[in-house]
Point group: C2
Chain length 374, copies 2
């Protein structure tokens, strides 16, 4: 079971500092969770992820359910043993994936019927089953099945999806039983501030271990995302963690922390690495650029990661253009290091009461070095 210790909060929608006490270790918040959709943080070994400082990763029950199958993972001792990960795991319910990946989905109050994006096979999942699946693979933190409406969507559709998500969340709570793992709810409500507020108020009455903010960064502009965040977080229980799902860029992490978010995940650091893009304090580095052909410097001068201490931009460019696996490894290592150190820096800034100065400095560095390199 999860224990969340809120160590500091600067306000209802302001930076917070906390601790997630999980059976497999303590995780400091705000935290970024590297994404290991299919039981592997892409291109990394578990040891590498751990050495980067991550203690909590994200996986996805929708993906694992389809491949290799929950029964197989359970028969092999659960997800931790299967992938040899000694830290903690949060599994997303797959709500977002069912609505974004699966063709021919059909939603009823009872649950959702969908076809696999892998082989077209038909499946039916209910809130209860999704809780059971996550328990079966031994997730430390489970997430309720939710319906993520498209964007843009008619108001009636957004309201219906939010109400169904709330009903399903109540069923997930009832279904969890005496299981030792934790259960997070997903708050939906589209881009309607009033609905988001109502939903948060309804959810706060239910004894969840944490609250996810779903259905954001789905195509809306940044100001809308932040406005929704600002109306939602003040309505959530102060003593429970808040997790902004699938968001986002370094800027998004800074703005999320600024508005009281405790947990983040996103595929950007790992996916962009495989596309040849590195995150640095000054902005992005697109490694295939001809300017790097003979550049002996590291991706980022001040960076202490394995990649920056050993390899030149010229070598990384060569590996990437040659489609060498080592390119994806080295860029992934750097990007995860960047994301995890950004979170560490933010925790230190909040602890020292200088988050505002940190945030100013963060943007100044980007303006100076600039995204011009991209």
């Amino acid at each position: 079971m999860l224990e969340f210790i809120l160590k500091k909060a600067e306000g209802p929608a302001a930076p917070r500092l906390g601790e997630l006490r999980l059976p497999r270790g303590v995780v400091q918040t705000p935290v970024f969770m590297p994404v290991g959709t299919l039981g592997t943080v892409k291109a990394m070994t578990p040891e590498e992820v751990q050495e980067l400082g991550a203690g909590l990763i994200l996986s996805n029950i929708y993906h694992l359910y389809l491949r290799p199958g929950v029964e197989a993972v359970a028969a092999l001792g659960g997800l931790h043993k299967f992938m040899n990960w000694p830290g903690s795991i949060l599994t997303d319910s797959g709500g977002y994936q069912i609505f974004s990946l699966a063709p021919l989905r059909k939603i009823t109050e009872e649950g959702v019927t969908f076809r696999s994006h892998l082989d077209g096979s038909s499946h039916f999942l209910t809130p209860e089953k999704v809780v059971a699946l996550q328990q079966a693979i031994g997730a430390d933190i489970s997430v309720c099945l939710d319906e993520c409406p498209g964007f843009p969507a008619p108001e009636a559709e957004v309201r219906r999806a939010a109400d169904l998500t709330l009903k399903w969340a109540r069923r997930c709570l009832a279904a969890r039983g005496e299981a030792a793992n934790s259960l997070f709810a997903v708050v939906q409500g589209g881009m309607l501030p009033e609905l988001r507020r109502e939903q948060a108020q309804a959810f706060r009455e239910l004894p969840f271990d944490g609250y996810c903010l779903g259905g954001l960064s789905v195509g809306e502009d940044k100001d809308t995302t932040l406005a929704i965040l600002e109306v939602t977080t003040p309505e959530l229980p102060e003593d429970k963690p808040r997790y902004l799902m699938g968001v986002g860029t370094p800027e998004d992490l800074v703005e999320g922390v600024a508005r009281g978010v405790d947990m983040f995940d996103c595929v950007l650091p790992t996916r962009n690495a495989r596309n040849g893009m590195a995150f640095t304090a000054a902005g992005k580095v697109v490694i295939k650029n001809a300017a790097y052909a003979r550049d002996p410097g590291p991706l980022e001068e001040a960076c202490g990661c394995y990649t920056c201490r050993r390899y030149s931009r010229a070598y990384l460019r060569h590996l990437f253009l040659s489609r060498e696996i080592l390119a994806y490894r080295l860029l992934t290592l750097h990007n995860l290091y960047y994301y995890l150190h950004l979170m560490m820096d933010m925790r230190q800034a909040v602890a020292a009461g200088r988050f505002a100065a940190f945030r100013r400095d963060f943007y100044e560095k980007r303006i100076e070095g600039g995204n011009t390199r991209g």
Copy 2:
């Protein structure tokens, strides 16, 4: 400069034990050199290759010449610094690649004109230039430009190519100057035992640091390869290393050592790993096989590699079917471990005077467990 210490030789075409003393370390022979064609042993970091026990890797001047370019590598401090490899490097001349990869090649006595397999650009290389290129990137051991005839090929063609290779080798010797790196010749001669013998006799009069056996395992049957080996090695200087280029399977390594070969390279352990095939003492494991879907055991029960000590066949199968980069990494680690430990076992067997027993045992294990798993 290379010093080769022959510590033991059981006969002119029989197992040998030696030591290659190179500026960056001592390498025990018989040795297998992992292949790092483009300045990376595919899917591995240099640290991983070193931890596996490799002190000498192979790279290829043809590939590096085309991408990223020899001038770039030299400007960045040479190949060792470029790829961050602390051990020794042997570069193949690219003779084989020019004749197998490049379209529209044209050979004259002066050199070879060819088009790049990457972008169709036209290039002209001479024996002198190939020596200079390898020196420019700082290869510890360079290889003379050779002409590798096709297979099958008319006898006149094979003879012409062998003679040209010999002439070019003399020019390479003259071109090496006072360079500190070593230079190996390539002995050609197709599948003509008499020609191979003559060529070896001509080469042995020339002061090379080692002798490559080229143009083998190019389509001929195994018995032919071995017969050619058996007539060639007795004609080569006993006190110089013999390197069988691009060969081969675990069986090929055992039979090569049995016939007095000191050095090997082959893409099989790394390439087959990326195709989902693992080498084990019992035979090959094709990891995608359905039989492994819930197999909790390692690739190989007795194996001490990183992969076998941590991951199940079921997990490896899942990663491979999901095309996860970690699959290629873990299988590559295992296969290189298998190859390097096979060589270590052979060195121990030769040292203890029990190579015949080792060889018998090697085949018995394969018959028992069998290639039937594949």
